[in-house]
């Protein structure tokens, strides 16, 4: 008997000094520099604000966060690990372990919010609710079916991008809404950290999807695209029902739908596809946009003349060292 079995491939160590795809290192650096833990956010400053919410608003918030916890749990324990098996480069696998772990941090963060603001019984009720809610369970099932080992690598990535870049947003809407009314602002800070991470995850998985897709012949590419749009439609139907059930009592459903359309289009763009929803139904409430990206909106349309900011400052000659970022 020899030491090298003919069946077992040689075990290979990952060499970060030999990259097949520079994007892997770029995203590794980005994700590791973005690392955070919920302890960094002073959630206890929201205790008084929490008490100002009505019992219905509190219950909605706990349920929304429980729904988000479920998606993060799926991505942590099933989604990101399922993508590892399809990784083209060893560095991609390493990046996916970071993604998996950060999803665990996200899931863990909601429990930090709960333990800071809520009573145990209310939280236990919400976790039971998440197991019994048909729409939440149905969308989880649709995603989990694609994470199945027999699913194609491209379909897994599509499901993953839809989870990261679309499904979270029916939930993210609520803390942005509270924050726009100066409520639960520290919780919103924590959610913004999660939102930032999900953007990198959706971008990276979408990038890997596009690299694989471009190697396929035209007919298979079309088939994959059809699959993506069909899955998005199915998920969208469920999201609308989920949204109505949660947000109808507060009269926010129509507002949330615009946010869903806007994010669905961004998810499709992450996959390299054109948006599906026309812009007329993607007009997100400016208060939600401002809450999502504070300070970012003041001056980005110089053309329209609305930008207040462009002042030709003191001209200082740019030196080459200035560009040494």
């Amino acid at each position: 008997m020899t030491l090298h079995s003919a069946i077992q491939p040689v075990a290979k160590a990952v060499n970060w000094n030999r990259l097949q795809d520079d994007k892997d290192l770029e995203i590794w650096n980005r994700l590791t520099s973005n690392f955070w833990l919920p302890e960094k956010v002073p959630l206890s400053n929201d205790v008084q604000s929490w008490a100002s919410l009505t019992p219905e608003e509190q219950q909605l918030t706990i349920r929304v966060f429980t729904g988000l916890t479920l998606l993060d749990t799926i991505q942590n324990t099933v989604g990101a690990p399922a993508l590892m098996a399809d990784a083209i480069t060893p560095h991609e696998e390493a990046v996916l372990t970071n993604i998996a772990f950060m999803e665990a941090v996200h899931a863990r963060s909601y429990s930090s919010v709960f333990s800071t603001l809520c009573r145990t019984a209310e939280v236990d009720d919400a976790f039971r609710w998440s197991e019994e809610n048909e729409f939440l369970q149905a969308k989880s099932r649709l995603i989990l079916e694609e994470y199945n080992a027999t699913s194609s690598p491209l379909k897994k990535k599509i499901a993953s991008v839809f989870l990261e870049s679309f499904l979270f947003y029916s939930g993210f809407y609520l803390p942005m809404h509270w924050s726009s009314r100066a409520k639960l602002t520290n919780t919103a800070d924590l959610i913004r950290l999660i939102i930032r991470d999900e953007a990198v995850h959706g971008y990276y998985i979408g990038y890997k999807f596009q690299r694989s897709l471009e190697r396929l012949p035209e007919t298979e590419r079309k088939e994959i695209k059809d699959f993506a749009f069909a899955l998005l439609f199915d998920l969208y139907d469920l999201e609308i029902k989920y949204t109505e059930e949660l947000y109808d009592p507060l009269g926010l459903t129509e507002d949330v739908k615009h946010f869903l359309h806007y994010n669905a289009n961004k998810a499709l763009q992450n996959l390299g596809f054109e948006g599906l929803f026309p812009e007329a139904i993607c007009q997100v409430n400016p208060a939600i946009m401002a809450s999502l990206s504070p300070n970012a909106d003041e001056n980005h349309d110089f053309f329209s003349g609305s930008g207040s900011s462009y002042v030709i400052g003191k001209a200082v000659a740019t030196e080459d060292e200035d560009w040494d970022f």
Binding site: R196, K266, Q269, S293, P294, F302, F303, D320
Partner: protein
Amino acid sequence: MLQMADPFVLITPTYADGEGRGAVHKQVIRFLNDAANRNLLRGVIASGNRNFGAFFAHAGTIIAAKCSCPCLYKFELAGTETDIARVRQGLDLFWKQQH
């Protein structure tokens, strides 16, 4: 490396981390490190993702500040049809005003 012969507006993606670091991509830095290119730069348009909050399309902000040119527009990912129309119209007007 790309050498510009005429005045131009740069359209660039953003790669910032959570603190805004590394917003300008290395290739863009190399391109603008060239003084001849930099002298012809009239404005910058940046893409990004609002998920990055205050650092949305931050590359535009940084390049505008460092090169003393306006950041003309910011858009998300590949942009929407409205973004494309606004940039087209805006650039037409912008170049007319430059002459």
